[in-house]
Amino acid sequence: MIANSHDLEHPMDKYLRTDRLPHVWCPGCGIGTVLSCYLHAVDNLGLDKDKLVMVSGIGCTGRAAGYVDMDSFHTTHGRAIPFAIGLKAMKPELNVTVFSGDGDLFAIGGNHIIHAARRNADINVICINNYNYGMTGGQLAPTTPETAYTTTSPYGNIEPPFNLVGLMAVSGAVYVARWTSIHVRRLTKSIEEALEKRGFCFIEVLAPCPTAFGRRNEMRDPVESLKYFKEQAIVKNFVNPLEATIEPNKKFYVGKFVDLEEEMTFEDRLWLMTSEEFLKAPSKKRKEMILGVRRHVKEHMEVLLHTPEPTEEGGKGEGV
């Protein structure tokens, strides 16, 4: 049963500016898939789209904000995060998602994202990592694997890439995950978790860029790229994110790396400061109020560095 009609309404159309479709992305580009996952997540959770905000930077991924039928901001290159911070700070009731690319978020915007994670700003960041700058024609990105060819590394990339999940984890994100654009259901689930979670949530999604990156690196065919992801990705939760590097033609981890308990978000603290109770409190009490339920940073690091293997109880000598 196949039907085709202009009257057909895709289930996600209710979240899309359908008058702008088809979108600008190339055939097989992973960004569309990830956007689809985001919208499915929104739909699954039944969120009020009036309260959803998408903020994007510049680049292929940055165009995503233009297609969603919600408040959406297509900002300057690298600056989606501070925009989101300002917006969220003033309207904490909004569910703000930054949807942007690896170059936007981690090269030009690198400073902002680490600070947003450090502050535990209650925003969700979906970073589509396609290993290069697609929109400008396939230049070197901070995520380009070593030795990969791009238009600005014609002899092979000499720079080691960022491990985005490791960087975000040590920066203080309370939720860090990585998926690829073939892991649509798990990615959707992960986005659902991030949308529901308070605090800084970061999801890296590896996606094929068949046009700009793939064709220079033997992954021209999006189908092949996704098969590559399927083959190389090891799905495992709570791997130490610092060890979850991505190297060419090697297996890499996908999954949830960090999922810390709820703590006070940046916005909680900002608004706490405006309360009369806080302002009038003696300094000792104020300290307590600021610390709230947020765990000590050191403890955070310990949780991070000693992520236990997912094993069962019943260890040595213990009762069963």
């Binding site: 900002t75 003033m90 902002h112 405006t274």
Partner: protein
């Protein structure tokens, strides 16, 4: 809540006065990054804004500061940031974003000596052109320039009102000397402070609302995030729906309107201060900020010498009061421009002076004029 308007008479410096002005104007969000000589403003905001129910965020840099401020503005808040030359330079790209997206916001620039790191703790007025042309592309800018702590208070409120009225960023061009100068500041009763709020989208328009469809006044009503308008805002050239439109026609239509919405209201915006010699003068000294205070003394000294000088002070630097200067040029013998740079407003005056000579008293920064230095130029202009 602690009062947001500290009605009464105070002794405070310009930075603090500007902060109080912002709070009095209804500023509820400040994002900034410390930089001399604007830091006192940030410090004061950090203390006062929470008391006034607002949010103070110290961002990781000036870029983040201006962008966060733009974001907060889209959440419906009156917003401000403050910086000095180097930080102002960093803000320029997103100054453009604010103009393009028609985001009301206030940027305070407490000027210091430059270029580059320059002389952080000493005065300069070298950012005037940057406030006008700092971002790329064609656009109109609004900048006010106080010359006393009292004016820092007053003009900051005005800057907010202009920003909200015209949905555009407004620069408060202070300088180090004004910022660090302590003087009496009288804060009036709250009810006596005139406050302008941005024109908001009509909730009834939900579903049909076009974020960039301007009313007859050339200014589109603004929709706030989270109100159900589902606006799409982009720094790309866009049509009335906010959708990117990469055609020359769209660019012409949009940018023309962005310019016109200020041009048309120039008279309303421009604020010049004349002294008592205005009508009986042939040499007009044109100055702003701290230089205008030196110029006033120079004019006094010139008058003592019998020179018919008069001071024209630019309380709004941008838009430039082209029409007024051209009018003055009709009767003036000469102009003298005093500013702490190598001639920025000078060029604007020259442009409007017609055949009348323009004498320039410039300093590279680090100190303010001695009135005698300006007097020398007035004397030169008077042919003495």
């Amino acid at each position: 809540m602690v009062r947001d308007v500290l009605t009464g008479t105070h002794f405070m410096n310009g930075d603090v006065a500007a902060a109080e002005g912002a709070i009095a104007a209804g500023c509820k969000f400040y994002a900034g990054y410390p930089i001399t000589p604007s830091s006192e403003l940030a410090e004061h905001m950090a203390m006062r804004l929470p008391q006034a129910g607002g949010i103070f965020v110290q961002m990781e840099d000036e870029i983040a500061s201006i962008v966060a401020m733009i974001g907060a503005s889209w959440a419906g808040a009156k917003v401000m940031t403050a910086t000095s030359g180097p930080g102002f330079s960093l803000m320029m790209e997103n100054y453009g974003l604010a103009i393009m997206t028609e985001t009301p916001c206030v940027i305070v620039n407490v000027q210091r000596g430059g270029p580059s790191t320059g002389i952080p703790t000493l005065v300069g007025q070298g950012d005037v052109m940057q406030a006008r042309w700092g971002s790329h592309g064609p656009y109109e800018a609004i900048a006010v320039s106080p010359n006393s702590p009292q004016e820092c208070f007053d003009l900051t409120i005005r800057a907010f009102n202009l920003a909200e009225r015209f949905r555009t960023p407004v620069v408060v061009l202070m300088d180090e000397s004004v910022g660090h100068m302590f003087e009496k500041v009288v804060i009036p009763d709250k009810r006596k402070i005139k406050i302008v709020n941005r024109k908001l989208a009509d909730k009834k328009m939900k579903g049909h609302y076009l974020p960039y469809l301007a009313d007859d006044d050339l200014i589109p009503p603004m929709a706030i995030a989270g109100e159900g308008f589902h606006v799409h805002i982009t720094g790309l050239t866009h049509d009335e729906r906010g959708y990117p439109d990469m055609s020359a026609e769209a660019q012409e239509r949009l940018i023309r309107r962005l310019i016109n919405k200020i041009k048309v209201y120039e008279d309303e915006i421009i604020d010049l201060e004349f002294d008592e010699y205005k009508d009986d003068a042939d040499i007009y000294v044109i100055s702003y900020g701290i230089s205008s205070r030196c110029s006033r003394r120079a004019v006094k000294l010139a008058r003592d010498e019998g020179i018919k000088a008069s001071l024209v002070r630019l309380k709004t630097v941008w838009p430039f009061p082209e029409k007024y200067i051209r009018n003055l040029a009709k009767k003036a013998k000469a102009f003298v421009v005093a500013e702490i740079n190598n001639g920025q407003i000078l060029r604007e005056v020259e442009r409007c002076a017609g055949a009348k000579p323009v004498y320039f008293s410039g300093l590279m920064g680090g100190r303010v004029h001695y009135p005698e230095e300006i007097l020398e130029k007035i004397e030169e202009a008077a042919g003495k």
